[in-house]
Symmetry: C2
Subunit: 223 residues, 2 copies
């Protein structure tokens, strides 16, 4: 069985990625990060979902908050309501996906896994630069030059299977794969019970996705 | 004053980088990592050296040992003697410079610093793939696509000023910059007093560097 690292937050997109990787017959290694995110309850969801897929699950503690400020991690910056603006929002965490993929690459090389899945999309997204196809391609190219595995064997692949999918398309694919989205958490400020705020960027995109997909939204909201 | 992030281990190369950045008038931010390295005494040297350059100094704890095995970090793998082989040695840490540069990039963006210095060389080196110019160029390209700062302003630059220098040339440059190499630690298994083993890859390359430079080696050895 080929091994794969799946970057895995326990949200809608990364759960779909994990289900997709499992359906393709990979032995799955799910990688989550504790980086001071306000919505750390997502990690509890991640644990349960990873177990349901019989994936190995590693949660790494990253001290990003030693230097960075973002609405996702800083208690002094409120999570904004979704605006639909094309500006990069205050929830942006500097170099987040670069850091996440760097660790995925390190773990992949340790396991001799050549495939990494990441659930980014540039269709219904928050405008983060590290969710775009040109970033993924540039990271893949770099990864093959950075590592012993890349230099000696080549073919390290960063898979972004949702990159061209709308949220509704992702949801439809996930439902076909049998995902129960009720247990996934996408909200940037989910409460201790995992209930979603319903108005942040992430909630809004998810809500619209279920609406457009014509599927009942199973998300548990705070009010 | 322009800000710069200097990846900084407290060894010969990164100290030379820090001195070079300071001599060019940058406001210096030195970034070190505690990642389970056997030679963690290097961090004590790093603190003293960073203070001597009046650089801000951040030591981040990285849980790389949660998944990786390398002679640099695993007590069950001995640090080998220098062999001069062109094979990538067991001291290789998967994706290490990718991970280090990813955090440097995150900190840089937080500070609005466009310049990152890293003291890699592909002349007198251990054969690590992430010390080669093609890796540095690929990382720089990726960094400009990954970040808000890169997308909006461009020109994020990964400087590797030692990349084409032999160890002897680096030493000569550092001496002209006024560095006292006595306080730097390069050894992969320096003891608690910071004394070097004298035979690992890093010691051997350093020793040869002083010899070829025609300079008395100020390193304190264990025997």
């Amino acid at each position: 069985m080929k091994k794969v690292i799946v970057l895995f937050s326990g949200g809608l997109d990364s759960t779909t990625c994990l289900a997709l990787a499992a359906s393709r017959g990979y032995e799955c290694y799910a990688l989550s990060f504790s980086y001071g995110q306000k919505h750390s309850i997502e990690l509890e969801a991640a644990k349960k979902i990873a177990a349901s897929f019989k994936a190995q699950h590693l949660i790494m503690d990253l001290p990003i908050s030693q230097y960075q400020h973002s609405a996702l991690t800083d208690q002094n910056i409120d999570i904004p309501h979704h605006t639909g603006s094309t500006q990069i929002p205050v929830t942006y965490v500097p170099a987040r996906n670069t850091i996440f993929l760097a660790f995925a690459l390190g773990w992949a090389e340790t396991l001799n896994a050549k495939d990494i899945f990441i659930g980014v999309s540039h269709i219904d997204y928050s405008g983060y630069p590290d969710c775009r196809p040109e970033f993924i391609q540039a990271f893949q190219r770099m990864a093959n030059l950075a590592t012993k595995m890349g230099v000696e064997e080549g073919n390290i692949t960063i898979h972004a299977p949702l990159i061209n999918l709308s949220k509704a398309e992702t949801i439809k694919m996930g439902l076909e794969l049998g995902i129960d989205y009720r247990i996934t958490i996408s909200c940037y400020q989910a409460d201790n019970q995992g209930k979603a705020c319903g108005y942040c960027d992430s909630c809004t995109l998810r809500k619209q996705g279920f609406l457009i997909a014509g599927v009942v939204d199973p998300t548990s909201y705070q009010s």
